[in-house]
């Protein structure tokens, strides 16, 4: 006797019966979050474990566990995993933005106290520990001059260097340049400061200064440009590589020489990205303290001449005021820090707008 198995028609396992599935209601996730926070607050304060930070950390963990359990029960495993990972990613975003928001808040709340005409109109010359006024005019002048000169040196040099690497460089020499630019990226700012101190301030500057070495804003600009160069070269290089080769060929095929193709077709196409790289390097340079301290020396008085005598800068001003033995100096330091951030922000926004203006609107 044989039993015949009637082949049962079964659908492939991956095929669902219905396209619709059970979903958690929209209020479930927020409600769970509130519940988790309340529960965590209850536990933390009930057992007296700690403060609000622990409540949030504990609450987030509780929320994740609760969310997974609820979603797993109602929506199934895949959906539960999706919800937990989404929640984790969003928490990561919050964690990343939190320090930024905190910095901005601290700067604004503490920096506005001395945001007055005196601060932007006077220097620290003849300001003693008991004087409440005094300002950062000299430091603003110094920062603008030093960063300006450094940018004027670095941008042509860096962009030309990147053009060489991408458009002309072949073989070992181009490889060596790229390698050394990479190495430069890792040079600590204090080392570039020492380099300029040893090379420019001690050896070269006496030639211009009756045989005596002299601090100067220009020396600081040199150190800053050494710091800026790798950032400008690498970012410009990446942007130039992003320009599609057919664009270059299109220009060559019109009988346009290579240099003109680069100048009129390749560079304009890559311009917004190049500007971003330059602004990043400027932001970095404007915030450097060590090289300025080493080769420009700082100073309390206004010095409009970047080629002679001491100059200060905003970053250096912050450093000096923060360590000053005067009850008025911390407020000056905060305001200078705020000024520095706003300055860089304004420069960045302005540069972006300029770069965008060159592009045609869609």
């Amino acid at each position: 006797m044989t039993t015949t198995l009637t082949p049962r028609r079964s659908r492939p396992p991956a095929q669902p019966d219905s396209l619709r599935a059970r979903r958690l209601p929209g209020y479930a996730a927020p409600a769970l979050a509130v519940l988790a926070l309340l529960l965590s607050a209850g536990i933390v304060y009930g057992v007296d474990l700690g403060g609000p930070v622990l409540v949030v950390v504990f609450g987030v963990l509780l929320y994740l566990a609760g969310l997974f359990t609820a979603a797993n029960a109602v929506e199934g495993r895949r959906s539960a995993r999706n919800r937990v990972w989404s929640a984790l990613i969003h928490s990561a975003l919050v964690l990343a933005v939190l320090p930024l928001a905190s910095v901005v808040w601290t700067l604004v709340s503490k920096g506005t106290a001395r945001l007055d005409g005196d601060f932007f109109g006077s220097s620290m010359n003849n300001i003693g520990a008991r004087d409440a006024n005094g300002g950062a005019y000299h430091a603003i002048v110094g920062t603008l001059q030093q960063v300006g000169i450094a940018t004027a040196i670095t941008v042509p040099l860096g962009v030309l260097c990147a053009i060489y690497i991408v458009e002309y460089g072949r073989g070992r020499f181009a490889f060596a340049i790229r390698f050394f630019v990479d190495v430069m990226t890792g040079i600590p700012s204090i080392v570039t400061g020492l380099f300029v101190l040893a090379f420019w301030v001690l050896i070269v500057s006496p030639w211009f200064n009756d045989g005596r070495p002299s601090f100067s804003g220009f020396a600081a600009a040199l150190a800053l440009s050494v710091l800026m160069l790798p950032t400008v070269v690498r970012s410009t290089e990446e942007m130039l590589r992003l320009v599609p080769p057919p664009l270059r060929e299109g220009a060559y095929a019109l009988g346009v020489p290579k240099w003109k193709t680069i100048l009129r077709v390749v560079l304009p196409t890559a311009l917004p990205g190049i500007v971003t790289g330059i602004m990043l390097s400027i932001a970095r340079a404007a915030g450097e303290t060590a090289p300025v301290l080493l080769v420009a020396g700082g100073g309390a008085a206004i010095n409009f001449n970047p080629f002679e005598n001491n100059q200060s800068s905003l970053a250096l001003f912050v450093y000096q005021q923060a360590g000053e033995a005067s009850k008025y100096s911390p407020a000056r330091a905060w305001t200078a820090a705020l000024t520095l951030v706003v300055l860089v922000l304004v420069l960045t926004v302005a540069a972006k707008l300029l770069a965008r203006r060159n592009r045609l609107g869609r």
């Binding site: 664009l247 009129r264 077709v265 045609l360």
Partner: protein, 258 residues
């Protein structure tokens, strides 16, 4: 306005790889010549070696002789940019300059070669756009970016850009392969008109297109992958498509190839 091209024993390399070998071919002025053949047989390489675009790639070089009205294109005293101004090129994918407007794209070749006068540029732009059958579609938005046009319009913009510098020869490297049938038709019509003024060489994978637009057809082929491409047969288009003298050509155009 149109010139004759003679290729004698043209062999082209990519580094150590020999892409085409001993191509001998003469292109008469004011004709359309189609280069057909399977992928990788060296049609585009040959086309790019005519206006010295082949050597743009690192390690690429060309041997043999290529002359345009008797002048050696590869002579050591020859200015590459002059060659390319004389022999224009349209690419497979439309490549308008993204930072330039429609007008600037059309006159790019003139402007980047030093023509500044507005009246000359205006006139050249209108003439080129009219020749490329694009004028009516874009005359009201010449200041808008070229990249905002449709694919077919962009390709006609690139053709306008090429003919605005008034070359003697126009090379087209599969100019319709990224386009829909209507845009393709527009460009084929255009070729008929351009033939009055220019010598046109077109690479195409579309044999109907080759049969429709060309006066002469060259069939390239390779023995097997890695071998250099060779010119198998070169004759009047009519003859190639009705009664080719080579078995290989017949196999290819009847679809029995490979």
């Amino acid at each position: 306005m149109a010139k004759r091209i003679d290729a004698t024993d043209v062999t082209a390399y990519y580094g150590g790889f020999k892409a085409i070998e001993n191509i001998n071919l003469t292109v008469e002025p004011k004709t359309v010549t189609a280069l057909i053949g399977p992928s990788g047989c060296g049609k585009s390489t040959f086309l790019r070696s005519i206006n010295r675009m082949h050597e743009v790639l690192p390690g690429a070089r060309v041997e043999g002789s290529l002359t345009i009205d008797g002048q050696d294109v590869y002579h050591r005293d020859v200015d590459v940019t002059a060659v390319r101004r004389m022999i224009g090129m349209v690419f497979q994918r439309p490549n308008p300059f993204p930072t330039m407007s429609i007008f600037e794209n059309v006159v790019a070749g003139l402007r980047l070669n030093g023509v500044r006068k507005k009246s000359i540029l205006d006139e050249a732009a209108e003439r080129a756009l009219r020749s490329a059958n694009l004028w009516d579609e874009v005359k009201d938005r010449l200041g808008k970016p070229g990249a905002g046009l449709s694919g077919g319009q962009q390709q006609r913009l690139c053709i306008a850009r090429t003919i605005a510098v008034e070359p003697q020869v126009v090379l087209m490297d599969e100019p319709c392969s990224a386009l829909d049938p209507i845009s393709t038709l527009a460009i084929e019509d255009l070729m008929f008109q351009l033939k009055d003024k220019f010598t046109i060489i077109i690479v195409t994978h579309n044999m109907q297109q080759a049969a429709r637009v060309s006066d002469r057809t060259a069939f390239f082929s390779i023995e097997k992958t890695g071998d250099p491409g060779r010119l198998i047969e070169y004759d009047n288009t009519q003859k190639i498509f009705s009664n080719p003298s080579q078995k290989k050509t017949e196999d290819y155009i009847t679809g029995r190839f490979g």
